[in-house]
């Protein structure tokens, strides 16, 4: 039982990170109907930004409180990563809006390749390890919970609450939901569609940057190629939960996190990704539009 709860906690931590990335996928998909393949690399850029900020802080000040350091890392990563995603949307996706469906997908894949290789060229191909930032571990009834995990879950929960408020209670969120339902009608009613889409990309990138910072803090290492696997898993999570649905993205992220940690704990660590992908395939056979997704009604 203790072992199970332990794995549950590990899964929750992992799932929180996937959930944060998955929201970026699902929001962009919801609003312009494209798979933003570069999102995984945006996450990587976020983590790298956090790494560089961490090193700057270390070089400039003798010692910084961990909370301040984390906060600064997160904020700078959010700002710069948003700038990346905003630029990418403007340069690579906006001119192709209204073009055929595969065109933005291809530019997104191109951007993903370009981003990861840009980081490789400028920062070098090696793994970048940092010293552990927080190392406290609490022991409750034989279950060990590290402070890192608590930070991840708390930050994710806070951000999700904020995000929920933004999407459901503000005029910005209303504009987003309107664009999602019918872009042309929203434009006719005076919503600046371009701006709303830009903001969607910025929000997705900001969440991915937070996920990147937390990822860096949790694992203590990042490399230029680290965007792909979390990116694909987050995308899997978004699809599993029903792409376009925000609660679905979080639910899917948690599910992927649980599947991974349970599978590595009880079966084999080698095949944890195989398990996650297989469960995706199985779920989609029975629920072709994901768990919380609205079924697509096709009109003739």
């Amino acid at each position: 039982m203790q072992y199970f709860v332990q794995q549950l906690i590990n899964g929750l931590t992992l799932g929180s990170i996937y959930g944060l990335i998955a929201i970026g996928y699902t929001m962009v998909y919801g609003i312009i109907g494209m798979i933003n393949f570069a999102h995984g690399d945006i996450f990587m850029v976020g983590a790298f930004t956090a790494l560089i900020v961490f090193l700057i802080l270390g070089a400039m000040f003798y010692s910084v409180p961990v909370v301040v350091a984390l906060l600064v890392m997160m904020i700078v990563a959010m700002l710069l990563t948003s700038l990346y995603n905003w630029t990418i949307e403007k340069v690579a996706y906006r001119p192709l809006r209204g073009s055929f469906r595969l065109a933005p997908l291809i530019t997104a894949i191109g951007m993903s390749i370009a981003l990861s290789n840009f980081v490789q060229v400028t920062q070098g191909p090696r793994n970048k390890p940092i010293p552990p930032m927080v190392s406290q571990v609490y022991n409750i009834n034989g279950i060990s919970v590290s402070l890192k995990q608590i930070i991840i879950v708390v930050v994710t929960a806070l951000l999700l609450a904020l995000f929920w408020y933004l999407v459901n209670k503000t005029s910005l969120g209303r504009a987003q939901r309107a664009c999602e339902q019918d872009r042309k009608m929203a434009a006719l009613l005076g919503i600046d569609v371009d701006r709303t889409i830009s903001i969607t990309f910025i929000m997705g990138a900001a969440l991915a940057a937070v996920a990147g910072t937390l990822f860096l803090m949790y694992y203590g290492v990042i490399a230029f190629s680290d965007g792909f696997v979390p990116g694909v898993k987050a995308f899997t999570a978004a699809v599993l939960g029903g792409i376009g649905s925000l609660p679905g993205a979080v639910l899917g992220g948690l599910m992927i996190g649980f599947i991974e940690s349970m599978w590595s704990a009880y079966f084999s660590i080698d095949y944890k990704d195989v398990a996650a992908f297989s469960i995706l395939a199985i779920v989609l056979i029975f629920l072709p539009s994901g768990i919380l997704g609205r079924p697509e009604v096709e009109k003739v």
Partner: protein, 531 residues
């Protein structure tokens, strides 16, 4: 009623003013994007801790270059292009306007003269100019030769356009012979010709043709049947491992295993097809992606069979239909049988013709299938699945045959790849490969075999050319390695080509079924990749 409309700023501002503003924004954005990534570099010190080094000079260069580039584009580039467009409409030059301005007789003569001069001086270039300038001179020579060849092609464009397929096949068939002969002339002996041809036949010829074949195979799934497949590399892997395992374990010949690998890949195609039959669009994309990853992860982790990440080496070479081999130690080694000098180039040239044959087979099958009921069913399925169903087309078998046929060609290409490399490992079958193949299909113009072949040549050939640009070392210093920028440029090229030609290089296609008169259909009228 007088309504005063305050004029937009953009209307009042002259292009130069607007350009300065835009340049400022571009510079500011570039500064924001690059300040941490170019301005600082993370490196390890002796005790393996990360330390930062600064590169403010490089950052300043990049930011200023961005701003200046934006300024020039907005101030001069945009008005120039707009004026050209108006001028071209007036003179009726539109379709070839840029090209006719680019390819002119005086330029052509100048290029020929430069190329000839530099070719005559070839051996004494280093002495005359020093190694640094000689590198530039060689680059200029290569550009002049390419320009002259392109001019000739442009001059005969009507003829080429009319006989494109025949000319293309002939050029590909003659390619190794031309390479060997011209290098033999240059080097002074046949042996030098064969030795020098290795790079051109292998790195350029075979490499590009493998991608042409893969892209043509994927074209059946994505371009014809409209099923978006992001895991095509899985079938490539199945084919490669089928040959690698059966060839090394049981010593079976390539000629038996080639069809076997194709059949096995087709079987996997059907296996993948079953669960995704009900899925549409992006759900299909993610499941195929997941499938590709599953295959790769199994190859990595099933160590007893696949030897994990270390891969399988010592894969037997292809034989010349069992009559001759390409192993020097064998009694029936090709050079011994034919009584000619030993060279490793024979095998590469043979492989070149083998993959060319496989490519042509793919093209032939695709062209024939498009005229058969199943091919028409694929295209109908791509356009409208509901209409297909109501017309009594069995969408299940239609989708499954598309997956199986596409996968089969992937399997063929995979077993060829294993034979060519002599070594396979899961590294070769990452998602990036699927993405590259899909990009080639889309950039070429989906459904168009010629466009896809051109796209493969441009994208794969272009990145291979980067390996050859040694003269850049003289510009950026000896540490500069152009290969490092290969994938960065590849990704950017994907974006730029897509923005420039969203419908691909060949944006129109011949209809398979037509009434009385054959008319090309603009691909803007067709739907693709809806799954």
């Amino acid at each position: 009623m007088a309504v005063t409309v305050s004029p937009e700023r953009d209307v009042v501002a002259t292009p130069v003013q607007r350009a300065i503003r835009e340049a400022f924004y571009a510079g500011a954005i570039a500064l924001g994007l690059f300040v941490l990534f170019i301005g600082l570099k993370t490196g390890q010190n002796i005790s393996n801790e990360l330390v930062l080094t600064t590169r403010w000079g490089l950052l300043a260069t990049v930011v200023i270059a961005t701003a200046v580039g934006r300024f020039l584009y907005v101030a001069y580039g945009q008005p120039f292009l707009a004026n050209q467009k108006i001028a071209d409409v007036a003179t009726g030059l539109l379709p070839d306007s840029v090209a006719t301005r680019f390819f002119r007789l005086p330029y052509f003569i100048a290029a020929i003269v430069i190329a000839a001069l530099l070719l005559v001086l070839a051996s004494s270039l280093d002495g005359l100019l020093g190694p640094g300038l000689a590198g530039y001179a060689r680059f200029v020579r290569a550009l002049a030769i390419i320009y002259a060849l392109a001019s000739v092609l442009f001059y005969f464009r009507a003829f080429i356009h009319a006989h494109f397929s025949a000319l293309g096949v002939a050029a590909l068939a003659l390619y190794p012979i031309i390479v060997v002969l011209s290098l033999a002339l240059y080097g002074g002996s046949m042996a030098a010709g064969f030795q020098g041809s290795l790079k051109w036949v292998d790195n350029f010829g075979i490499q590009i043709l493998i991608y042409v074949m893969l892209a043509w195979g994927l074209n059946i799934v994505v371009g014809l049947a409209g099923l978006l497949d992001l895991g095509y590399v899985a079938f490539y892997a199945v084919g490669a491992y089928a040959y690698a395992l059966l060839g090394t374990q049981y010593g079976l010949s390539f000629w038996i295993l080639l069809p076997a690998a194709g059949a096995m890949a087709a079987f996997w195609g059907v296996l993948l097809g079953f669960p995704v039959l009900r899925l549409r669009g992006d759900y299909l994309a993610i499941v195929t992606l997941a499938f590709g990853e599953i295959i790769r992860l199994v190859l990595i982790n099933w160590r007893e069979v696949t030897n994990g990440s270390a891969g399988i080496s010592g894969i037997p070479k292809v034989t010349f239909f069992g009559l001759m081999t390409f192993n020097v130690s064998d009694p029936n080694y090709i050079a011994k049988v034919l009584n000619i000098a030993t060279s490793s180039a024979y095998y590469k040239i043979f492989l070149y013709y083998l993959i060319l044959g496989l490519c042509l087979l793919t093209a032939f099958v695709t062209i024939r299938l498009r005229r058969m009921p199943v091919g028409r069913a694929w295209e109908a399925l791509r356009e409208d699945e509901i209409a297909c169903r109501s017309l009594g087309i069995n969408t299940t078998t239609t989708k499954l045959t598309a997956f199986a046929t596409g996968a089969m060609f992937g399997g063929f290409a995979g077993s060829f790849f294993a034979a060519r490399q002599g070594f396979v490992s899961p590294e070769s079958f990452i998602f990036l490969e699927s993405a590259i193949i899909l990009a080639i299909v889309v950039l070429g113009g989906m459904g168009s075999l010629v466009g896809i072949a051109v796209a493969a040549m441009v994208m794969i050939g272009g990145t291979e050319v980067l390996r050859e640009l040694d003269f850049l070392k003289q510009v950026f210093g000896p540490d500069f390695t152009p290969e490092l920028y290969r994938m960065l440029l590849f990704g950017m090229a994907m974006v730029i080509v897509m923005l420039w030609k969203p419908r691909g290089f060949v944006g129109s296609r011949e209809p398979t079924a037509f009434l009385k008169e054959r008319r090309a259909v603009s691909s803007s009228f067709t739907k693709e990749g809806h799954g």
